[in-house]
Amino acid sequence: MNVFAVLFSPERGFAAMGKNPPKPLPALFTAAWLGLIPPACAYAGASKFGWRLGVGEPVPVPPSLALTVSVAYYLFLLGGFVFAAFLMRWMAPTYGARANWGASAAFLAAAGAPLMLGGAAHLYPHLGLNLMLLAPAMMWSAYLLYSGLPAALGTNADRGMLMATSMLGVFFTAACALMTGAMLLWTLGIGPDIGFNWRFSVTG
């Protein structure tokens, strides 16, 4: 499956994807290597430059810790991808789209490609730089989600728009759940030392 065909010529790329839906395994393989970009860059950036919280000196990150965090990041990305593909396949009949693992996974990999490529910004963990690169990458992905879904999953433009909107809602809710989960872990003492323990008293 050729992701770059979709990036440079979305209409033709998604139409081809709709005509010959890729098999699930090649789609998963594509997602697996695309998903490697953000954690690999995050590993390189964090171990070379440390974490920059946006204030004070960068926090040095030992390579072993950077590796653990990056592997967890990668597993979360892959898990999220499989979950989203599952949801897309589950949702498809409601919107008259093709309920097919391969088609759902391939479409998600292609639409998410700009975001994954934008993950190269992690090479230099500077907040402003990451925002500048990831915000347009996200817009590009959202554009591909809305414009490509009907052709890739074999539904009409109107139903595709509704399905894309539902998926957008799912993505934001999942992002919110991840943030909340992270907060819960931090206050339980797992993760960065935030000077605050689960009994809600100040430490340090």
């Binding site: 919280l53 946006g54 204030v55 004070g56 409601t94 919107y95 907040l127 402003g128 925002l131 915000a135 996200m138 817009m139 959202a142 009409n156 109107d158 139903r159 728009m161 509704l162 909107t165 539902s166 957008l168 809602g169 934001f172 809710t173 992002a175 919110c176 759940a177 943030m179 909340t180 907060m183 819960l184 931090w186 206050t187 339980l188 960065p192 030392d193 935030i194 000077g195 605050f196 689960w198 809600f200 100040v202 430490t203 340090g204």
Partner: protein
């Protein structure tokens, strides 16, 4: 059932639509200016009238009571007549309510800009304005419930349940929270002391969000969605179940605004429990809406309002998930007082409230003007800019909020590791991103205002009145909006 169509009185509706647009522009314009002030503080020009504290109250009051309030009054007074098959009760009083509400808003705006402020969130207006608000609200209730009492259809359609709860509960909240001892024309002290005042204030504040921005707007959604799609609500049973569980649960959730404060622990825990329970009716409503829209996809081409309502449901789902999560105390320990809260409010206010109101206004304007919408292309641009704007805004505030929460809690030797100004500097890139998001959303709204203005005034009549009448009285109107039995059957 009496099938004769009564003469509906819509004289108050079109002015309210215009006022809603005016206040939307005022609120969002003030919001953009405030976002710019946070990036370039010199933009307050050292004038107290342009200071952040004063402009912010204009922003919130114009958004909630100006834009939201005017749109809700227009939607409720329009829909209650159709769903009851009855003409408006005391239409002159309806006109008075529409006009008096605007007079109060303008008076309130001048009071807030000149620094007269009670210091209570969403209840900043001086005590004298509070009395007029209560009086006008009672008149509004008389018009709405008077029309409901005149109904020629026995069942009360679900949108009217939501509008009724909105009117009754907001009256109760406003009167109880505004009880104060006046010290002068512009100053007063609340009758409650200390923690009690805080509990009453957040009982009011949270339920202003609950019954004004959620209950009222759900009434709007439950009327306009079946109307635009031309099909009944997917499950009428769920809508009624969601109404009662929503009404019972929401009223208890306010204490989650007061975590780690001088409020008893059990009150905080009750607030958390009720907030989590709220997820069920909220998502029931969202699923009901999404399934109704999904069966009416073919209407997207001809009904520009529909895509706004479809998107609003996605944001409704997100905001009603995010709220309960932020109410959990260990999450709140990090998120409280940070920009994450601002992001949460705006994903609800822009993504849900504004979009569902835009849908209602895009529907109402052509029907009231007797002309087709001026430009479908402008509507599409508005949709795209609004979506991009709210997404940028929300993501920026998520990033800023987590950064703030982490840095504020970083300690070294029992002292905060970073200074307040250092942290403010760290989140500046997010403030710039939020400013862009706000400008996009405001520009989209300006396009809509232009589109509706031209719809009302500029373009020649291209569609005959009877055609529009038949459109507005399409099968959806009473088949789905006033006959729950039909809706139940369809479900």
């Amino acid at each position: 059932m009496n099938s004769a169509r009564p003469n509906y009185d819509d004289r108050a509706i079109a002015p309210l639509v215009f006022c809603a647009m005016f206040w939307a522009l005022a609120a969002m314009g003030a919001g953009v200016w405030l976002a710019a002030e946070l990036v370039f503080p010199a933009l307050n020009f050292n004038s107290p009238w342009l200071s952040f504290g004063r402009l912010r109250t204009i922003h919130t009051n114009a958004a909630v009571f100006g834009f939201g309030g005017s749109a809700l009054m227009a939607a409720s007074l329009y829909s209650v007549q159709r769903t009851c098959r009855a003409t408006l009760f005391a239409p002159q009083l309806g006109l008075f309510v529409a006009a008096a509400w605007q007079v109060i808003l303008v008076f309130g705006a001048f009071a807030l800009l000149s620094g007269v402020n009670q210091g209570k969130e969403y209840a900043e207006l001086p005590w004298i304005a509070d009395i007029f608000v209560a009086a006008v609200w009672v008149c509004y209730a008389a018009v709405f419930f008077g029309t409901l009492a005149r109904r020629t259809i026995r069942p009360i359609y679900v949108s009217n349940w939501f509008f009724a709860a909105f009117i009754i509960v907001v009256a109760m909240l406003h009167i109880v929270n505004s009880l104060a001892v006046p010290l002068g024309w512009g100053t007063s002290i609340p009758v409650y002391a200390g923690a009690q005042d805080a509990i009453v204030q957040w009982w009011y504040g949270h339920n202003a969000v609950g019954f004004f921005l959620t209950g009222g707007f759900l009434g709007m959604m439950y009327y306009f969605l079946p109307k635009i799609t031309g099909r009944p609500i997917w499950s009428y049973r769920i809508s009624i179940l969601a109404f009662w569980s929503f009404t019972f649960t929401y009223i208890w959730a306010g204490p989650h605004h007061l975590h780690y404060n001088a409020v008893p622990d059990w009150v905080q825990s009750l607030g958390v429990a009720m907030s989590l329970i709220l997820l069920a009716p909220s998502w029931g409503t969202m699923i009901n809406g999404v399934m109704t829209v999904s069966g009416a996809w073919h209407k997207l081409k001809t009904e520009p309002a529909l895509k706004f309502i479809a998107l609003s449901l996605a944001f409704y789902g997100l905001a009603t998930f995010e709220g309960p999560m932020m109410a959990i105390r260990s999450v709140n320990a990090i998120s409280h007082f940070t920009e994450w809260t601002i992001g949460h409010v705006h994903s609800g206010a822009l993504g849900w409230n504004a979009f569902v109101a835009f849908g209602a206004l895009y529907y109402l304007a052509p029907v009231l003007a007797g002309r087709p919408l001026y430009s479908a292309r402008l509507t599409n641009w508005h949709f795209g800019m609004g979506l991009a704007g709210v997404v940028l805004y929300m993501l920026a505030m998520w990033g800023a909020g987590i950064t703030q929460g982490l840095l504020w809690l970083s300690m070294e030797g029992g002292e905060p590791r970073y200074g307040f100004m250092e942290i403010l500097d760290a989140i500046k890139p997010y403030y710039i991103m939020r400013l862009f998001g706000g400008i996009l959303f405001f520009s989209g709204t300006a396009l809509m205002a232009w589109n509706l203005w031209k719809t009302f005034g500029g373009a020649p009549v291209a569609v005959s009145q009877p055609q529009l009448e038949s459109e507005s009285e399409s099968t959806a109107e009473l088949k789905s909006a006033s006959e729950p039995a039909d809706a139940r059957a369809a479900a």
